[in-house]
Symmetry: C2
Subunit: 364 residues, 2 copies
Amino acid sequence: MEQTIRVELSETLKEKPKTDQLEFGRVFTDHMFVMEYTEPLGWHNPSIVPYQPLTIDPSAMIFHYGQSVFEGLKAYLTSDGDAQLFRPERNLKRLNRSNQRLCIPEIDEKLALKAIKELVALEKDWIPGAEGTSLYIRPFIISTEPYLGVAPSRHYKFIVILSPVGAYYKEGINPVKIAVESQFVRAVVGGTGEAKTGGNYASSLKAQEVVAKEGYAQVLWLDGVEKKYIEEVGSMNVFFKINGEVVTPALNGSILEGVTRNSVIQLLKHWNVPVVERKISIDELHEAYKAGQLEEAFGAGTAAVISPIGQLTWRKEHLVINNGETGEISKKVYDTLTEIQYGKTEDPFDWVEKVSVPSKVKHA
Amino acid sequence: MEQTIRVELSETLKEKPKTDQLEFGRVFTDHMFVMEYTEPLGWHNPSIVPYQPLTIDPSAMIFHYGQSVFEGLKAYLTSDGDAQLFRPERNLKRLNRSNQRLCIPEIDEKLALKAIKELVALEKDWIPGAEGTSLYIRPFIISTEPYLGVAPSRHYKFIVILSPVGAYYKEGINPVKIAVESQFVRAVVGGTGEAKTGGNYASSLKAQEVVAKEGYAQVLWLDGVEKKYIEEVGSMNVFFKINGEVVTPALNGSILEGVTRNSVIQLLKHWNVPVVERKISIDELHEAYKAGQLEEAFGAGTAAVISPIGQLTWRKEHLVINNGETGEISKKVYDTLTEIQYGKTEDPFDWVEKVSVPSKVKHA
Ligand SMILES: Cc1ncc(COP(=O)(O)O)c(C=O)c1O
Ligand SMILES: Cc1ncc(COP(=O)(O)O)c(C=O)c1O
């Protein structure tokens, strides 16, 4: 039986920001989705309600023991005025994998997808139309039981909020400088690195703060055990083109399995570009660089899609990649992925999921 | 200049739970302390207000990126009816060390101590008087800026809540069974293990869930790199008596520096019991056990003070320690620490800090 989602419309609608003034994650739409978990009821009362502050006891577990998970995806507006999502089932599957790791009761992925689609349909006028803009979708789960014990919470809220976001690249795709992180560790096998949970991001702030002062955009994370193998770049998965072959670190338990990562791999295979998932050490990368074989490097994630790496600094040595310019493969992957996301090119993989806007949804 | 704390008293007071029905962390007192951080003001408006739910935007960083820290200490009632704290400055120093790691602006430790004392004084009637009971004090800081970017928040709340708690040992101090954790990792050097931040506890839930099903009280955490060196037990520091000498893992960056740990070390030195902080591997422990030299083992933390380990299970082998009974040193440390905390014996280290209850504080 399909669950219905209760809808309570907001009485007043906010003014929408001007497209050219959009930032990332600062403005939110008029409504949000909320669903509660309590025992023995389980997940219940799925509702779309006016966007509003949460009222939570100061002893709620989320404030103390950080039991939480989240996701991030986008809704794109096509030139026909349709709203569409990019592989949303993968985000919801990953949300449930994160739930397992964090001892949070799993959600019904079908219901969650339906909730996202209904919310996006209702807020369709919030999807900005300009090049590179989109509506960022943030599903998240927080533990709300008022109890100071270190144990899984027995109350949760699953919430989805939406934020119109500007183009990541205001002046075209642009390579960044990255510092190889030598002191801090993002994640370790046996920890929570492959889950999307708040603690991973809280622990990453310090490293970011240190390198930002030195002019770097992000850090390249090495593994927590040997500080040798490459894991991710900032909050993105990472790819290197070495002597004609594209290499990305294999999933090992401490790397987040990105939707973009998976899409890049599929695209490259589709194009018959050699691509391999394997362990890759920073020493190997350095060797390849010295041999003139490090041809491209880029991060891959929902926010930027592709973020070319123009320079990598390791032990004070600056490895300048592809003259600090965006590589050919980086550019081709970026163009193709964004064209699929915005419905400008065919979608051979069936990645795009249309959001149908029922005529009964009224727009202000 | 000393800052004054604004006080807004609650109009209605709650009914206090019966002493014999006290649990841990489920009931909270009538008031709480709150202080806000915004830029450029910094920390401001320190206030004692009625205990109440927090109203926080769903986009607030705490719900997404887990930027938070906390502390835990207790107020004890002496037989003279005085309220006293145990080494509270150490908790506030540790809170600021945690703040540094989590990119949270440091607090004024003096003001925080004053806030705790004034709050405890106001709520003095909430400190239960029965043997082993106390008033648990939970200072914590959460990031409240409504922004979905992975960056340090620019708004925070520092809050202190109080909860009357029952005796940890209802039927006398009692040894527990512990499983050596082989799959999951609590912390790794370069991560956040030495900070008291939510993510560490969220990531520990899974291991605890798995072993609890097999009848163990807690896990013994090994280091995240070699899975070999002993770090902590559950949410406590750990001590072993091996052939007459007490050994505890040295602080290495992934172990929390416990106030109880430090007090145990000082007590043992005071008694001329050999005590050493050093790396200790699970293999060494196993060897000592086989040689009949593993004489005692115990966890140490604010909640239980001392938690004797009666059995340690490693690779399916059950190491029964001291016949599963509480060891002599464990007992002596437990008795002395609790006697100091409750003001039943002299305090040669000046650990105890009295809370003065001004006559103008009215009790219901
Ligand atoms: C740590 C981390 N790695 C990788 C990614 C990329 O994943 P995706 O492509 O699904 O956005 C993200 C973010 O989204 C992330 O937070
Ligand atoms: C992870 C961890 N280790 C050790 C301790 C013991 O510290 P303390 O003695 O200060 O309570 C605690 C808790 O308080 C803890 O959470």
